[in-house]
Symmetry: D2
Amino acid sequence: MSPARLRVSVVGAAGYGGGELLRLLLDHPGADVRQATSRRFAGEPVSLVHPNLRSFRPLPFCRPEDVAPCDALFLSLPNGESMGEMDRWMKTGAVVIDLGADFRLRRPEDWRTWYASDHARPEFLERFVYGLPEIAREKVRTADYIAGPGCEAAASILGLYPLVKHGIVRSGAVVVDAKIGSSAAGAAPAEATHHPERAGVVRTYKPTGHRHTVEIVRAMETAGGSPSLHVTATAIGMVRGILATIHVFPDAGSVSEKDVWKAYRATYADEPFVRIIKQGRGLYRLPEPKILQGTNYCDIGFELEDGGRRLVVLSALDNLVKGAAGNAVQCFNLRAGFPETTGLEFPGLHPVGS
Amino acid sequence: MSPARLRVSVVGAAGYGGGELLRLLLDHPGADVRQATSRRFAGEPVSLVHPNLRSFRPLPFCRPEDVAPCDALFLSLPNGESMGEMDRWMKTGAVVIDLGADFRLRRPEDWRTWYASDHARPEFLERFVYGLPEIAREKVRTADYIAGPGCEAAASILGLYPLVKHGIVRSGAVVVDAKIGSSAAGAAPAEATHHPERAGVVRTYKPTGHRHTVEIVRAMETAGGSPSLHVTATAIGMVRGILATIHVFPDAGSVSEKDVWKAYRATYADEPFVRIIKQGRGLYRLPEPKILQGTNYCDIGFELEDGGRRLVVLSALDNLVKGAAGNAVQCFNLRAGFPETTGLEFPGLHPVGS
Amino acid sequence: MSPARLRVSVVGAAGYGGGELLRLLLDHPGADVRQATSRRFAGEPVSLVHPNLRSFRPLPFCRPEDVAPCDALFLSLPNGESMGEMDRWMKTGAVVIDLGADFRLRRPEDWRTWYASDHARPEFLERFVYGLPEIAREKVRTADYIAGPGCEAAASILGLYPLVKHGIVRSGAVVVDAKIGSSAAGAAPAEATHHPERAGVVRTYKPTGHRHTVEIVRAMETAGGSPSLHVTATAIGMVRGILATIHVFPDAGSVSEKDVWKAYRATYADEPFVRIIKQGRGLYRLPEPKILQGTNYCDIGFELEDGGRRLVVLSALDNLVKGAAGNAVQCFNLRAGFPETTGLEFPGLHPVGS
Amino acid sequence: MSPARLRVSVVGAAGYGGGELLRLLLDHPGADVRQATSRRFAGEPVSLVHPNLRSFRPLPFCRPEDVAPCDALFLSLPNGESMGEMDRWMKTGAVVIDLGADFRLRRPEDWRTWYASDHARPEFLERFVYGLPEIAREKVRTADYIAGPGCEAAASILGLYPLVKHGIVRSGAVVVDAKIGSSAAGAAPAEATHHPERAGVVRTYKPTGHRHTVEIVRAMETAGGSPSLHVTATAIGMVRGILATIHVFPDAGSVSEKDVWKAYRATYADEPFVRIIKQGRGLYRLPEPKILQGTNYCDIGFELEDGGRRLVVLSALDNLVKGAAGNAVQCFNLRAGFPETTGLEFPGLHPVGS
C-alpha cells in the first residue's frame, strides 16, 4: 500500500466493531470505503443499522460473497467465523486486518485450550502480526495480515507491558479486575443484554477463565516475563468502555514511584494514543473510560500502596475504538504510511454519560 | 371467596408481571401460592428467573396444563394469549384476574380496531370487570372475572378521571405524553431492548396510535365525558416506571386551582393508593416514578398555566405494580374481603436509581 | 472578519458550554484559541476541568479581566452575567457571540416578564441578532453581535418554524413536551443534580412557565404566526440531549402528510445540520438525541394522527452542541466566511449510552 | 430492653442512612419512632427530604438538642461528629447504635492512623461492640453501645471471615476490588457527585488506602488470621449497592471447592441474611447488588481458578441496608429480643435498575 486513497472494505459491518470501522473510515482522508457486508441487511443502507452514519454519503450493505478485491480488507466477525474463509479473504485484500479472535494467537494449542475447538487454519497463524502498535509497531508497518487484540487484552497489555519489560513484575502475581460495558457483548440481543436485566448491573460474569488471558500472557512473554496472571471480568451498566484495575505485586517485594514512572515514560513517551494520567487533583485525576468514548486513547495511571508493596494500575479505553476499530485503523495507517493518527483525532466529550 | 388463606396460582409466571405477582402473593398473609406456570421453565425454581424470590420458600414452575383448581387464578400472558383458553381458566379459578389486554374492552369492535384481529371469545367480554378499584371498586368486590388495566392506561385514567367527572374537561383536547421504562416491553429479548440500543434512550416509539388509548376513552365515558384524547409514548432509559404528563385544555377555556383541587379531593380523599403530590418546595414537589418502584401508589400532581388555560397533570406509578401486579392484588383483596392494602405496604426507596 | 486563522477567546470557559466551545474551537482550522477565562480556575490548565481537552496543546485559564482584544469573543456565562459588562466585551471582540440568555430577546419588557429583573443594557438588545442560522442566516453573516438561542428553544423552533411559515399552524394550539438531560443545568453542583437524587429521574421540573417559551414565541412571529404555545420541561436520566415532542393542532383542523413534508423540505432541503428522519423501519426510524451526542445536528421527524387532526413532531439535538456551542461555531463560520460546517463534522457514535 | 413497642429516635435523619433507618423503623412492629433530628430541616416533615416516607404518619424533624430519652437511639452522622457528644447520647438512649465510623475501632491509634485526627473519647471505644451480627451475635445481644460497620467493610468481612476462620487464608494476599454506588458518598452535593460528572462513571477513587481496610483487618484478627489485605474502591454509575470482588490467594497454595463450601456453610448455614449464591446457570448465578436494593441480604458466591490457586469471592449488598441501616435494625432486634428478621423482610425487586 502507498499513501493515497486506498480502497477499503469491511466484512461484518452490521456489528458494533464493523459500524465503528465505518464511522472512522468514511471520515478518513486516505480511505475510499468501497463495500460493507452484512448477510442479514444486504441491500439496506448502512445507516439503517448505524444511524450515526447518516451524515456520510449513502452506502448499502452487500453480501460477503460480493466483496471485490481491495487494498485493505477489515474483518469484524464473531469469533471462529473468519478462519474458515481466510483463504478467500487473503485473496481479496492486499492487506487483511482482522478484529476477531481467530488469528490473535500464534500457537494452535492456545486456541484449543481457550476456545475449545481445533483451529481451521493453523498454518496461517504465523503469518499474522498481533496488531497492537505500542508493542509491535515495526512489525505492523510491513505486515500484510494483522490480528487486532481483544478489547480487554488491549487495556491489560498496555497497562502491564512496561512493568514487565522493565523488570518490575516478571514472575509476581497480577490481578486484572476489568469493568466492561455492554457493547463488548456485540449487537445480537440475548437475555444477558436485555435492558431490564442488564441496566444498572454489576455482574462478574467471568470470575476466572477469561479468554483474553492468553493474549496477555503471550504479550508479556514478548516483554520478557511471565507474571502469574489472574483476570476477572465484571459487566457494569455502561455501553462503551473498559477500566482494567490491575493489582500488581512487584517481584522485588516493593517498587518505587520513580521506577514506575520511568517504565511508563520509557515505553510511552512518544506514543500518540497512550497517555499517563496521574494528576494530583481534580475529579479526573486518574484514568476513566467515560471521557474516552469515541476516542482512540488508552489512558493509564497508577498508585502505590505504602512502601510500594502493591502497585495499582488503571488502564481505560473505549472497547470499540482503541479496543477494536480505532486500533485497527491505527494499524492501517502504519501499514499504509499515513500519519499514525489520521482519522483518529476525536478528543472525546465532557460531560457525557456512558 | 372469604377471608382466609386462599389458594392462588399464577399463569405466565416467568414474565415480569407474573414475577411481580409472585413477589406480592408469596408475602401476602391471605394467599397460599399453589402453582406458577411457565412452559419454558417448567420444573425449574421460580428464583432461577426471578432472583429476588430466593428469600421465599422454594416453588417450581409447572406447565400451564397442570394448573389445578384454585380460589383465585392470575393470568399474566402476552396480549392475545389468554382469550383462546379462557373457558378453561374460568373452570380453574373461582375468580380469574387477567393482567393482559384480552378482556379489558367491552366491545368486540374495539378489539378489532386496536388489536387488528377478531376476538376469540367476544361473548365473555361483558362478564369481565375493568379492574381499576379507584373507578370501579364496588364492581370489583363482587366480580368473578377481572381484567386489569394497561399500565399506561392506569396512569392516564387516574390522572384524568376526576377532571372529566367534575366537568373540567369533557370535550376539550387532552394530550397524554407518557414516559415509559423498559420493563413495560416484557421479558423477551429483542433489538429494541438490547442494552446498547436501549440504554440512555429517549425514543418516541408510539407518537400516535397507542393501544391503551381506547381504554382511556372508555373509562372517560364512564366518567361522563369524551375529551379529544391524544396519546404519545416515549421510551426512556429506566427499567420501571411511567410518568404520564397530561396536558389538559379545559372545556370552559380555563379552570381555577381550587376547582382542580376539589375534583381530585372529592375523588381520591379516601383512596389508599392515590396520593395528591403538590408540595410548594423540595426536590420531590411533584410526582416522580423513581421513588415509586416496588410500591402500589399512583402519585398525582398538577400545575396551571397562567389563567388556567392549560392544566398540566402529572401521574406517576410503577408499571409492574400499580400498573399491573399490585393493582391485581388490590382487586384480589377487594374481592376476597381482605383489607385493601394487604401485602401492598412497601413504601418505596430513597435514594434509588431506576 | 476574513477567512484566515482568527483570534478567538472564550469567557466562561469552565462551564459546560464553554468547555464545548473549547473542544470545537481547538480543533477548528480557522480558529486560533487565545484565551479561556475562569475566575475560579485561573492559572490552571483547561484540561483540569475538561479532561477531554488533554489531547490538545496546553491552555491555562485566565481571569476575565485579562482578556485581550480578539477577532471573535465567545461568552458562555450564567444568565444575567454578560449584560453588565457588555460594553467591555464589545470593545474586546470585533465579533461577540453570546451563548447566554441576556441578549436573546429584542424587547426589554420580555426580559422583565420572563427573567423577573430589569435589563441592564436595553439599548444593546437591538444590536444583537438571534443566532439560529436556519432562520436568520443572512443576518448572522453580517452581524457583529450574535445571541445564541436557548437549547430547548432551538429544538422547538427548528421543529415548528416550517409549520408556522407554511401556514400549518399559525393560531392553533401547540404543546411542547421537552425531555432534557442533566448537563443543561450547568456545571455547578446542587441538590437537584446530586447523583443519587438525579439518576434515573423523570422529573417535570417546569410543567409551565419555561423561560425559553418567549424565544419560541418571538421566532414564530418572524415566521408569520402566533400559535398558542405551551411548554413543559421534564428532566430525565441522561447527561446530554433534548427531545422535544411537539404536539401540533393544525389551524385547518387537519393536515396532510404531503403538506408537512413540503413545509420541512422547503425550509430545510439545503440545511447542513437539520435532517428529516422518517424511516419506515429500523430502531432509529424517528429522531433520538442519544446518537446526536457531540454532533451539531438537529434531527426532525413527525407522525400524523388519523386524519391529520394532530401532528406529532419530534425534534432532537445535543443541548451543548446544536443547542449551544456548536450552533455558536456555526454562526462564527458564517460570519467569518468559513464553510458553514467547518469544525462541526463529528458524526456521532453508535452504540452509545447517554 | 424487652420485646414491646420500644421508643426509638434517629439522630442525623436527613441523611441517607438516617432516611433508611426511618423507612425500616416506621414499619417495624416493635418500634415506636419518637424523634428524627436534622438541624437544617428542623420543623419540616421527614417526607420533604425522604419522599418515600409519605406513606407513613407525619413526622417532623426536630433539632438534635431536643432529643428526649428513649430506649434505643440511632446515630447516623458524618464521620467524627458523634464522638464529641457521645456522653450526652449515652444518657439519652438506653441503647445507642451508631452507624458512623467513630466507635468502630477498638484502638485509638487505629483512629489516628486512618482518620488523621485524635479520637475525642478514646475511653469509650472499649464499650462499643462492632455490630456485625454474623461475627458477633452474642455480644450484640447484650451490648448497650453498638457501632455498625462501614458498608464496604461489611461486604468484605462477610466474604472473608469464613475463609480466615477455617484457615484457607490467614497470611496470604487478599485483594478486595469494590464497586460502589453513589449513595455511599452521602446526601451532600459535591462536584464528584454532580450528575453530569458522576453518571456512567467508572472511577477508581481510592486505588489504595481505603479507611475501611482497618475494620476488615481487625475483624480478620478475631477470626484468627492476618492476611495481607489490599483494598481498592471504584465508584460506578449506580445509586445503591456494593459488589466486593475479593481475590484470595490461599495459604496452602491452593484450595478445593469442597473446603470453601465447608467454610461458608459452617459459618452461614443458619444466617437469615447471608445467602450463598452459586447456581450452575441463569443470569443471576452469582451475587449481584442490583436485586438486593432495599433488602438486608448479603449474597456471597465464589469461583476457583484452575487448581484452586486463586479463589474469587463475590460479596454483594445494599450499602444503605445491610451496609448501614438494615444491619443496625438487625442489631436492634437482637438486643431487644425481637426475631432477628423483624422489619427486614423486603425481598427486593426484579427487574430493576440501580
